[in-house]
């Protein structure tokens, strides 16, 4: 990987839930020391269960949620040190696509107004006619036509709304788009279209994607690298092929086991090490390794010492935070 455009270091995001009726202040640690790099034009898939902090991570990087500690280095600048005023010009390079495509569009704004909003904000030099041309060009690129310009979001299907949302995110040709569960709310056939659209746009413009999803099949299709998040911590990160071929964290293996096999008949009879139980509450995480309460390999050390990320391969591209990653073959035996 060339020099990263985005380097996240030891990021911590906490939510203060306020005082309980009798207890002390309750603080939820949503992101607990996450670090990763993202190269230009690269797609990093972020996977994890509900509540693992995926969406929080994406929003914290865009500074939609304040981070408590750590660094978000974007092209050499730590975004956490910038005021909102200094942040504003950088926002044209940082965009987001949301999970619920209809909720992401102002119900009282026309499609033109929604897609043109980034232009109206960052390109005050453009005339209305130029904006209309630009919007119309981007509508065509995401597979819609000019008849959509003056219509309202409720007139479109979920997939079409997501195309509008992507056009809005792409119109300034940003260098990073956070796709927060961007296809989860869509039908499977539409999911494929949107994923292919994102992949095509990435090829054409070189935009980097942070693709947040709980759907491993989709993530695998799109991502160059994958980050597995568990309870706000990085369980495993690595190149997509390496991670799928040799998952080193037991949580990654459990996630992979939960993906339905393409051929159920052939897979029949094979043992599957699925996950049992609920993830522990982030209000009161387990000591040591956060995954130990559900881990088939857990031993004493897992309860006492928090595992650090260890390099699996020689280039240190593939990392796993597990005390027993060397014993991975014993699982499911």
């Amino acid at each position: 990987m060339s020099r990263p455009i985005l380097s996240v270091r030891d990021l911590i995001v906490r939510f203060d839930l306020g005082r309980g009726l009798f207890g002390p202040d309750r603080v939820l640690t949503a992101i607990d020391g996450v670090s990763f790099d993202l190269g230009a034009g690269e797609t990093l898939g972020i996977v994890g269960e509900s509540g693992s902090g995926k969406s929080t991570l994406g929003r914290a990087i865009l500074r939609l949620i304040p981070a408590e500690a750590g660094q978000i280095v974007w092209l050499g600048q730590d975004l956490r040190r910038l005021g909102e005023g200094a942040m504003r010009p950088l926002r044209r390079d940082l965009q987001i696509v949301f999970q619920d495509p209809l909720a992401a569009l102002d119900p009282r704004a026309t499609v033109f107004q929604s897609i043109a909003e980034p232009l109206a904000t960052h390109r005050p030099d453009m005339t209305r006619i130029q904006m209309r041309e630009a919007v119309s060009r981007w509508l065509a690129r995401v597979g819609l036509d000019d008849t959509a310009l003056d219509r309202y979001p409720h007139e479109f299907s979920g997939g079409q709304c997501q195309r509008i949302g992507i056009a809005r995110a792409m119109i300034l040709e940003p260098r990073l788009i956070v796709c927060d569960e961007a296809v989860s709310a869509l039908d499977v056939s539409i999911q494929a279209q949107i994923v292919n659209l994102l992949a095509a746009l990435q090829r054409e413009t070189g935009v980097a994607l942070l693709f947040i999803s709980h759907n491993l099949a989709v993530v695998r299709h799109l991502s160059h690298r994958i980050l597995v998040l568990y309870l706000g911590r990085v369980a495993e990160i690595g190149p997509a092929e390496a991670l799928f071929a040799d998952p080193c964290h037991p949580y990654t293996r459990a996630l992979l086991a939960a993906v339905p096999p393409p051929d159920p008949v052939a897979a029949r009879g094979r043992r599957r090490a699925g996950l049992t139980g609920e993830p522990p509450s982030p209000l009161n995480p387990p000591s040591g390794c956060a995954f130990r309460t559900r881990c088939p390999l857990a031993i004493e050390i897992c309860a006492t010492t928090m595992p650090t990320a260890e390099a699996i391969d020689d280039d240190a591209l593939h990392l796993a935070a597990c005390h027993r990653w060397r014993d991975r073959s014993t699982q499911g035996a």
Binding site: I96, P107, R151
Partner: protein, 289 residues
């Protein structure tokens, strides 16, 4: 979107479309329009002036022959002329005070709700303190300081009515600002005030318009109340509240003095309430598409 062809596209257009199919709303709007036209144009058309004293017909009942179709008051002035001129004042107070409440309340509530945190706390405490101020005390204080003046009524009523508006708008804003389209605007880098103006205010306008139609009758009632106490408009100018107050004093010998302005006020209030109800239904997005 089964009957999309029949439905207009814009959210406002759809609400108007539903409103037009509501017979009571259309009737209310027609009657309201009629009252407004009567009050605005009527005084020029009818043969008597509101402040001309007819010495030969003091406190007479409805009489076609003399041209005092609805009778005269104890000073011999034509009741119809006075009711219509009074209507101008009452409608004006209702409209202007409500608009004052609308502008202050919406801006205050939207900013407090959107900014949140301490600013929100501070702004809403100001609202609470003003709420706690006794209204009549406030009005009497204003009158003592500035003398009796119709503008003061607008100020006094507007200063009180915007409080409720601000609370409603703040509540709506709090739920709106968690919506993803607001987050999208923040991610784009749209400045806070622009987000409030461009995304929050248009989206809270529905409940606000409904509340406005209910505020106008309230304001008119408050004006009637102030005038009833003798703190409102000054003779010979009049308002519905003043006329009703005079009518109540003469209810035994001249009930028509109460009936005519009372009917006008009651009709206006009824129509505005009906319209408010219908608007609430028409603007409710859950009620079909």
């Amino acid at each position: 979107m089964t009957d999309a062809a029949a439905l207009p596209r814009s959210p406002g257009g759809r609400a108007w479309f539903r409103l037009r199919r509501n017979p009571s709303a259309m009737a209310a709007m027609t009657v309201l329009g009629l009252i407004v036209v009567l009050c605005v144009a009527g005084p020029w058309v009818i043969p008597h002036s509101y402040d001309a004293v007819a010495w030969d017909s003091i406190l007479t009942g409805p009489d076609w022959a003399s041209g005092h179709w609805f009778g005269t008051d104890p000073n011999g002035r034509d009741l119809l002329a006075r009711t219509l001129v009074g209507g101008r004042i009452s409608l004006l107070v209702g409209l202007i005070a409500s608009l004052v409440a609308l502008v202050i309340g919406v801006s205050w509530g939207a900013v407090a709700g959107y900014v949140g945190g301490r600013v929100d706390g501070l702004m809403m405490r100001v609202v609470d303190i003003l709420y706690a101020l006794p209204f009549m005390f406030f009005v009497i204080l204003l009158m003592v300081y500035f003398g009796r003046n119709i503008v003061l009524i607008f100020v006094a009523i507007g200063a009180v009515e915007w409080l409720t508006m601000a609370r409603i708008v703040r509540g709506q804003t709090l739920s709106l600002k968690r919506r993803e389209f607001i987050e999208a605007a923040r991610a784009i880098g749209v400045p806070g005030l622009t987000i409030v103006r461009r995304h929050i205010v248009p989206n809270v306008l529905g409940p606000v318009i409904v509340f406005l139609t209910l505020t106008i009758p309230e304001v008119m009632l408050i004006e009637s109340f102030i005038s009833f106490l003798g703190l409102g408009v000054q003779e010979p100018m009049t308002s519905w509240g003043v006329l009703i107050s005079e009518g109540a004093q003469n209810i035994e010998e001249a009930p028509w003095l109460l009936l005519l302005p009372g009917t006008f006020l009651a009709l206006t209030l009824l129509c505005l309430n009906l319209l408010g109800d219908a608007l609430r239904d028409a603007l409710d997005p859950r009620d079909g598409r």
